[in-house]
Every structure is written in structure tokens, then in C-alpha cells.
Amino acid sequence: MSSEDDFSRFSRRELLTASVGMASLAMISSARLQAMEDDSSEFPIIDTNVSLFRWPFRRLPLDTTAALQKKLQSLGIVQAWAGSFEGLFHRDLVGVNSRLIEECRQHKMFVPIGSVNPTLPGWEQDLQRCLAEESMLGIRLHPNYHGYTLDSPNFSRILKLATEAGRFVQLAVALEDTRTQPEQLQVPDVDLTPLPTIVKRIPQARVQLLNDRPRGSLINQLRAVPGIYFDTARVDGTDGIPNLVQSVEPGRVLFGTHSPFLIPEAALIRTHESGRFNPSALRSVLAENAERFREGNVT
């Protein structure tokens, strides 16, 4: 069966699954979860956080698109939202996004999420190409690698334009643990302090934080704003993902692996290792929340 067939099958069935919220997060025994999983025929998955092409600082085992596709499909992932590692340092973002689009055309499971850098001249045209000409679902921002903060007027402008176009924004909070970065190229995590205020000002805005490791007092402010969503890639601890899901409104934690930089099995196993999700809650995190977020049908 091709990946397209897989995706079509998923799209039909996922719409039939029950909506899931806080009430579905339940403490259940391993034995019961096993039995419930046996009853389900499949767990089709949407990975909202992958990147194509080469990581700038070393080769990664899955850094060819074909290899990544094969691995993700072997794990039951039927769709992956793909940014480009080239978007971190290249200034020719027309070229970056064109290559991403072409790669995704050749590997149908990947959905291109273009890079926009508001510190570059002509960024509005890049945004226009991504959203209007190429009809991308959303764009991905790297404020720390591109050298701006969230209180920059251009960040609010991008968010406003994307929202008016009915699209989402993915904000990569980090790509690598600051403790392991190259000595000469240290990039701090994005300071999210201004984000709640900005998102509140733009009704219907959808911002997904990628690779964030929620902690400290800021997490409470982020949780309080319905337009802010999370991914699972770096939420660690044996019960870290259930705890995050439990702490926010339903639908706001989307499965993401940050592969190929991180091993995709890592986030996937973390979704179920504590035994705290019933199958319905697991489906929400693994696919349904992403589907609703993608369509703008959000809480």
C-alpha cells in the first residue's frame, strides 16, 4: 500500500473517531491498555515536526528523505509536516522553500512547511509564496537562529498575516540542547515571554511551539492562551507528555518527533510508556489534535 493510500484511509477514519478531552485521560493499568490496544486496528500518526535535508553540524542516520520516509512509515506515521534545515542559515529562502516543495512532491507523506526570516529584505514575498502561491498549511520560524526576538514588530506582523490567510505558525523554540551546541555557534532557546500577549491580540492565531521543554512559571502563561499549542519532541520524563496534556486544554498537544535530529521512536514511546493514556487519548495526541489544528478547527 502506498503512503497516499495510507493517508486517505487515515483521513476517513480519523474524522469518525470520538473527540477526546481531559476526561479521557485516565489512569489505567498496563493490562487494560494492552487489551484496549488489541481492540484497535491501527494507530495512524501525524508527525508535526520533522526537517528535511542536512543538519549543518553532522550527518544524521536518517538525513535522506527516502530513509526518513521509510523509518516514519515503519512506525505508523502517515503524514509528516516538514521544515528544512537549510532554512536555518541560508539567505536564499526562495531556493530553500523551492527545494523543500519539490522534495515533498517526490515523497508524498511529507507536507512542506516553509521557512520565513523576517530579518531578510523581501520576507513578505517569501511569506506570500508560501501561503498564497504554494498553499502551504503554515510556516516555520526560527527566531533564535535568525536573530530576532518575539517582541519584534515583524513577528507580530507575520503572525497576523498568516492568521488572516487561515494558516498556522510553527515556532521552533530550540533545535539542540544548548549544552551540546558547537562552542562557536551557541544559540539560546527562544524567549517566549512576549508570546502570550502577542497571541492574545490576534484572534484565531494558531502558534505551535516546537521542541519546547515546558518549565518554570512561563508555562502557566502559555497554557492560559488557547492559540498556543505544544509538541512532544523534547517533553521528557516517563510521564512528561501525559502531564503536559493534563495541564492544558484538550487538543493542544500535537505529536512531533524532531526527527531526523532526534530518534523518532523516542517521542512515540513516550506517549504511551506511562500507561496513563487510554487509546482515545492516545489517538488525540498522535493524530486528531494535529488534524484539527491543521484545519483551523480548534478550541
Binding site: E37, E42, P61, D236, G237, T238, E265, T271
Partner: protein
Amino acid sequence: MKDDIIQLGLPSAQRLKDYRIWDSYFTPSHSRPGRDGSELIIADIERSLPAIEKGQFEKLCYFAHVGLGTTTDPDFEKLAQSTPEVILKPLQRWPNLLLGMIILNASKVEESLEALDRWLRDGPMLGVYFPGGGPGALPCSHRNFHRLVERIADLGGVIMQHTWFKTGGKQGAGESTPAELAQLAAHYPNQPFICAHAGGEWEQGNRAVAESPNILVETSGFDATAGFIDMAVRDLGAERVVFGSHLPSRSLGTELSKVIAADISERDKRMILGENYRQLLQPMLKSKAD
């Protein structure tokens, strides 16, 4: 296929069982045992049990504070000195699952030597852990380590040394790097050392210990960055890599995936997940059995 779906990223339960996983780095309430000597440790072990069962672990080794001033809790330190048997509660509750090592304080050499006799020679513990932070932590390049290592070697104990190579330099004066461990290990070629976390930044960590055949690298404590195990097996050999889970503050997903997803042989995976560690522990396990 159905089995793969049920496991969601994991090998089948039978394959996991066949690996015979022995976890060398289990960290329930790693820095705070609790006022009664173990309540927080026990709570964290219970919190970890679903993952332990899911991963089909056979054994897990945790690190016990034994009243050497390695915590910031004065009540616990007093209790551990006056009533040391409280330290054994986790081992008594899970005798078939848990293994133990003691956390030494290299700033207190005489007290640490006494603790080695009490807990390794005369007690159930199998080795020692040198922390990278907290009260009393010293870098393993410090001269105090030599008397301790010599005694541990006499007893046949295993040494787990916390290590990191942090961008921007050490975060604390007590932290050790893999390069410092390599210097220490060079003095004791017959004593195995485990380089916990492979230095965290493992590209440098693996290189720093590559020429030290008595150092093994431990796999936990950093994100599931792809390629680590592949590099370690290529440059050190699978026989010099031991699995650690860092549960529950890290996860089965992050830590086990490093090994099961690596592009290495099944034989290498079995060695990393259990065989190598069992071999290291063999002298102590044999002496306890005798």
C-alpha cells in the same frame, strides 16, 4: 505488524525480554531520598514501574545516598548516620528488581572509605557513583580520588562517574569531563570505569575515552540525538557501551530508543542492553553469592 502497532515504537515484548535488559543508571529521586530515608525514592520507583514493565527490564541499578553529606537535606543525613538500615528499604521492597550502588563523597575520604567497607564489603551494594554536582562533589582529577579508587578496586566494585562536556564550560566546580576520567583511568588499567552520559556531548565524549580501554560509556542523560550509539560502537566497540535509563526524570522512549533504533547488530544490542553490565558486576555478584 499488529504487534508493532501495539508496541508503538518498541520491539515486541518477547524481543525486549530476550535482550535481558539491565539498567545501569536508574535515578529515582536522585538527589532527595526523602525524610524517612526512602519515601521519595520509592514513590519514583512506583512511578517508573509502567515503563519498566513495558521495557521488560530485568534489573535496574540505583544510587543510594548513605549519609556522607551528598544531599542538601540535613534531616536525611542525620537519619542515614543514626539508622543506616533505612537506606535499604528500596532493595528490600524490590529484591529481585533492584541493584544498588552508593554515592561517595570524594571530599570526605575517610568517611567514604568506611562506607565502602560497610556497604560494599559487608553490605549489598555493588559499586559507587561519583556525582557531578551537589554537596561534596569534586572533579575526578582531584587527588582525593586515588585512595578511593584503590579501595574500590580491592573490593571489586564498579565505578560510575558522572561526566559532561558542556558548551561554555563546566556548570559547577564538582563536574567532571570524560577527558578527566580518562586521566584518572590511566592510573588503574585493571579497574573498569563507566563514563556516565558519555559526556552528554557525545561526539567529544566518545573521542575523549576512545584510547582508554578500561572506560565504558553509559548511554543516558541527554536527548535522543541520532547517531550516538552508531558512533560509540564504531569507535569504542559494543563491548564498551552500557545502557542506562535515567528513569523517571528521563524516559524509556528517550533512552531505550538510542539503542533499539541504532543501526547495529542484534548481538551488539544485547551486549549494550545487559551483557556488558552483567560482566562488570560479576566479581561483586559472585562475592555476594559466596
